[in-house]
């Protein structure tokens, strides 16, 4: 009974420090402990399917919907978003600084042959990047490794690689603001509406995994979408900047039939 509630999330949630900020507030109110394990999106969802965690927080809508459709989740609530941005070397060889149209910026990177690092790990961020390329009318499969480097790693490792080779990359704002090894990197393109990065919390199906702490999980999920939780998310700052925008009230919880 005094087992802590285990939440699985993607690494961006942990690396940004959001959960470390939210959980003490929640624990004080709820009276039970919550612990967080962070993995890559795919790994987190896989573990949740296996019944290894009580609650799931991710940001990749297609996989979330598949999770629901396969009967592993009972409830999916979108509760906050942040945005992506394109970062790159301070000397900005492709001259994209200040642009707000991501498609144009991407096309310019291709045109100048500047280095671009892709997550390449089918994570939420990677899929968002692929959607952006597609929107710009380009096919990453045809890109040459001489400039398009799919690193196949987490966001932090990808940023370290971008810093090391002075390349452009797409990053979520949470990770970016918390990231310390910027050195030669700088935020260049932001504010495009297509940059929205939506997070959801998924409640797991008690019929599939009766051993999990579904009641406690619901308490946390409820709190996250409650005004109190939403306020807490909105008040989280890194270096004076707000990282996540609460948006539970704008969204309808999609329930499993």
């Amino acid at each position: 009974a005094d087992r802590p509630l285990l939440v699985l999330s993607t690494t961006s949630v942990e690396n940004s420090g959001l959960m470390a900020y939210l959980l003490p507030k929640f624990e004080a109110k709820a009276g039970f402990k919550v612990v967080l394990a962070a993995f890559g999106t795919g790994q987190a969802i896989r573990a949740a399917r296996n019944g290894d965690a009580d609650l799931l927080i991710v940001h990749d809508k297609p996989s979330e919907l598949a999770f629901m459709a396969d009967g592993f989740g009972v409830e999916r609530r979108e509760f906050m978003y942040n945005d992506f941005l394109v970062v790159g070397p301070v000397d900005d060889p492709a001259r994209i600084a200040g642009m707000t149209d991501v498609e144009a910026a991407l096309r310019r990177i291709v045109a100048t042959g500047a280095l671009f690092v892709s997550r390449g790990d089918t994570s939420g961020t990677h899929k968002a990047e692929l959607r952006l390329w597609a929107a710009a009318g380009l096919d990453p499969n045809s890109f040459d490794v001489s400039w398009y480097r799919a690193v196949g790693a987490g966001m932090g490792a990808t940023l370290n690689a971008a810093a090391g080779m002075q390349a452009y990359t797409l990053v979520d704002r949470g990770t970016w603001l918390a990231f310390r090894n910027r050195r030669v990197l700088k935020a260049l393109v932001e504010g495009d509406p297509r940059f929205v990065n939506q997070y959801s919390v998924l409640l797991i199906n008690p019929e599939r995994h009766p051993h999990l702490q579904h009641d406690k999980a619901r308490v946390l999920a409820d709190w996250l979408v409650s005004p109190e939780g939403q306020d807490a998310i909105g008040s989280f700052r890194v270096a004076g900047e707000q990282l996540f925008v609460p948006n539970a009230h704008q969204r309808n919880a999609s329930r499993r039939e």
């Binding site: 690396n15 612990v35 962070a38 296996n50 290894d52 370290n160 918390a178 090894n181 995994h209 051993h211």
Partner: protein, 237 residues
């Protein structure tokens, strides 16, 4: 990065005696030392038996054992994860994301290393002993503890190699432990986390602390050996 800064930061961290850091260091030791003890209890006798006994397929077994030294931590982590996961055969014990799971994973990882290296060390001692033991009619299997004891100086280095591998690996403990704060966070997972956050200085400072800690363990084992070891230095005046 400035190495002076890193070293300074490492020492500031140590002397801050930050309880979180101490907890993490303590857990690293608890997990890795437990794994080494279990692996030693299993691996050293196993290596000794393979070194001493003669049986069909022994050569193949040595090759397999040596190859298992190349077991990737991530794969070991996955294997143990699959076993301990709710969906797995040992799921009911609810061990996933616990220090116990990390000990299991590290034990699986370093037992082959300890067994393979022990095999080599014991074989060298046994070569000198074998005929005498056959003459006494003592079967190799019964001589195993004797030979392990007499080979203890060499085996100490083997155990330290096992400890080194355990304390420094991150792949296995990350998967089965989950790097959960105050529960399964150890030095290496913290280093990986700080690296992912781009705080390379902190990561390196933590790495330095980890090294200092394993220096401590090694120095202790060296001291023990000098006090309790055989008078090898007396072998030749």
């Amino acid at each position: 990065m400035n190495f002076g800064d890193v070293i300074g930061q490492a020492f500031r961290l140590i002397f801050s005696l930050d309880p979180d850091l101490l907890e993490i260091i303590g857990r690293s030791f608890q997990v890795s030392l437990s794994s080494v003890v279990i692996s030693a209890v299993v691996g050293a006798p196993l290596g000794a038996v393979i070194a001493m006994a003669r049986f069909r397929g022994r050569g193949a077994l040595v090759v397999v054992l040596n190859a298992l030294m190349g077991l990737p931590p991530v794969v070991v982590g996955l294997l143990v994860y699959v076993m301990l996961s709710r969906a797995g055969p040992l799921g009911v014990f609810n061990l996933l994301f616990s220090p116990t799971a990390m000990i299991i994973a590290q034990t699986v990882l370093i037992t082959p290393l300890i067994a393979a290296l022990s095999r080599q060390i014991v074989e060298d001692v046994w070569q000198g002993y074998a005929e005498q033991f056959r003459s006494w009619g003592i079967r190799p299997i019964r001589a195993v503890p004797t030979v392990l004891w007499d080979a203890r100086v060499g085996l100490m280095t083997v155990l330290l190699a096992g400890f080194g591998r355990a304390i420094s690996e991150v792949g296995a403990v990350m998967i089965v432990g989950g790097n959960i704060d105050h529960l399964t966070r150890v030095m290496t997972t913290t280093i990986a986390l700080e690296t992912a956050k781009g705080d390379l200085d902190l990561a390196m400072a933590l790495g330095l602390i980890l090294l200092l800690m394993s220096l401590l363990v090694n120095a202790l084992s060296h001291a023990v050996r000098r006090v309790a070891g055989p008078a090898a230095s007396l072998a030749r005046v």
